[in-house]
């Protein structure tokens, strides 16, 4: 993928967007076709693959693991909560600019963005990795911005909890990575099944637990419907577009990522790139992103539900559920 763009190409894209005609024939608020598939990797607790018609291909996996609770030394919070640890990696094969350490900055940016929008832990400044201690405020806000109910992920308060490792792998770069990663994460979390645990009270404040191995009897991730997705708005000239292709991304003066959940609440906002946005345009873009995001969530949920229902029907009829495989359209 080119990291340079000629002035002629830039001018073509700029003038086209003014007239509401983009290089591939779309209009400014149009998304490319999205192909979404869940349950593609058997070794995970949940997985999803998102493909955008321009070439962006993202694979998101969720692995549920058991680990010790993370208690914030300052506030004492977190003893009764599970954790979500996110990581985004762009495969070096995805684009020429990702070779070697070229993708490091982008990986870090996407990882921090995911952590920020899904866990809302930014007020505690930790020195270690990208994980941050849960910093919930009062008792009614145990969900955090990511919507996921972390209290439900706790097994033994103060000791053991479920840790959801969300890993996104970018297999191909065709522009608009942020939206694809978040769509994939939402689908993967929907697909995630966590084994049930049985806690035994040994007395004296000691507890022991056992993980039930039943593949049929698993739990869903509670609060997954409230997970946000992102809409990336790129300001080019005086207009803004969504779902930019790589060339359009190179023309972008300023980028605004709006994270919105299904109730229309904003779960995060981040501006990127080297340009400025007038405050009035900023508010307009936020509003636009919010409305678009809510529509997107509805469509996404409908698709995921349809796929899950179809799989259920197949299982009930005794037919094997076969996933399409990596090259299928």
């Amino acid at each position: 993928m080119p990291s340079l763009i000629s002035p002629a190409e830039r001018d073509y894209i700029l003038k086209g967007i003014e007239c509401n005609i983009r290089a591939d024939g779309r209009q400014r608020p149009d998304y490319r076709e999205v192909i979404l598939e869940t349950g593609v990797i058997s070794q995970t607790s949940g997985s999803a693959r998102v493909r955008l018609a321009g070439g962006t291909d993202v694979l998101v996996s969720v692995k549920a693991d058991i680990g010790p609770v993370l208690v914030d030394p300052e506030t004492g919070e977190g003893a009764d909560k599970g954790q979500i640890i996110c990581n985004v990696e762009c495969a070096p094969s995805a684009s020429q600019q990702f070779e070697g350490r070229g993708a490091d900055e982008l990986n870090n940016e996407l990882t921090q963005m995911m952590t920020r929008f899904l866990s809302h832990n930014t007020t505690s400044l930790t020195s270690a990795s990208s994980t941050t201690a849960p910093s919930s405020t009062t008792s009614h806000n145990s969900n955090g911005a990511g919507g996921i109910n972390l209290s439900k992920l706790c097994i033994i308060p103060g000791e053991q909890c479920w840790i959801l490792y969300v890993d996104a792998l970018v297999l191909d770069y065709g522009g608009n990575l942020v939206d694809a990663v978040f769509m994939g994460t939402r689908a993967a979390i929907f697909d995630t099944r966590i084994p049930k645990t049985e806690v035994q009270d040994l007395g004296d404040g000691n507890f022991d637990f056992e993980v039930l191995d039943d593949a049929e009897d698993t739990e869903i991730v509670e609060g997954r419907e409230d997970m946000p997705i992102c809409v990336t708005l790129n300001k080019i000239g005086a207009r803004h577009i969504v779902d930019a292709s790589p060339l359009e991304e190179l023309c972008t003066e300023a980028k605004l990522v709006v994270a919105v959940n299904r109730s229309g609440e904003l779960c995060g906002l981040q501006k990127g790139q080297d340009g400025g946005i007038e405050p009035s345009l900023l508010l307009e873009m936020i509003q636009f992103g919010k409305t678009l995001g809510q529509t997107l969530i509805k469509q996404l949920d409908a698709k995921i539900k349809a796929e899950a229902d179809a799989d259920m029907v197949k299982r009930q009829n005794g037919q094997p559920v076969v996933k399409l495989g990596f090259f299928a359209q």
Partner: protein, 286 residues
Amino acid sequence: MAADRKRVAGPESSVAPLVEYPIDYQSWTPFTETRHDSHRQPEDLRPIYLKTGLISEANGSAYIELEKTKLTCGVYGPRPVKRAGQGFSDRGTLNCEIKFATFSCVKRRGTMRDAQEKELSQILSQGLTPAVRLELFPKSNVDIYITVLESDGWGSCIAAAFTVASVALAHAGIEMLDLVAGCSASYIPTSIPSSASTSESTSESSEGAGSITPQIFMDADLEEEKFQQGSIVLAYMPSLNQTTHVLQTGKAEGAIISQSVEHCVEACNKIFAVMNHALLESIDQK
């Protein structure tokens, strides 16, 4: 992994020392009618102390204090890029590095730059670049090094970083289109949901914090941030009326965001006056 041999770690069972609070200490909650600093109103910013010329070696430097938040900034440049073989660029580049001193936060931070600091550095570069006339120094690089000496509120640190970097850049004589002022605000609920005890209302409150409208507290400090539902940091160029960076976390309704953006823009205009004053003073000194 090689242990840090310069530091002597205690025995494995040691714990961090506790801070001793006086017996009558009451930690602040937002459910009282005042802010953590009782002299401040929700729309008040902390008083800013801003001075240039802290670092003699640097081309430009500045120091900012927002009561307990203290940052220093040194600007070196324009100077030639280290590896000129990287390819010609007709625009200069801005390299921003922020580092939280290990003693700056409640929990000791590492000596190496971690992922969060790397991202903040990127955010700062993106927020400052629109203001600097990079086309005037091709093949050159401007380095901005920010050290956070003491942090009292995450949002205020980032906002102060924008402010101090702009002043240091101006002090270094680098041509800019405008100064970038940074401002932060927190969304803090000031009332406990009144129906928290009845069972029917737990379903209401479990839908999310939409049942209580949080109040916007400008420039929240660390104690106040513990109770926040969300926060926003805005970097703004007052003369050009352009926001160069916005970062919002936590859940918030659209109306609250619009309101807080307006408040932040107003506050940035006030901070702009302080920045100008500091720069005029620095000229008088020279």
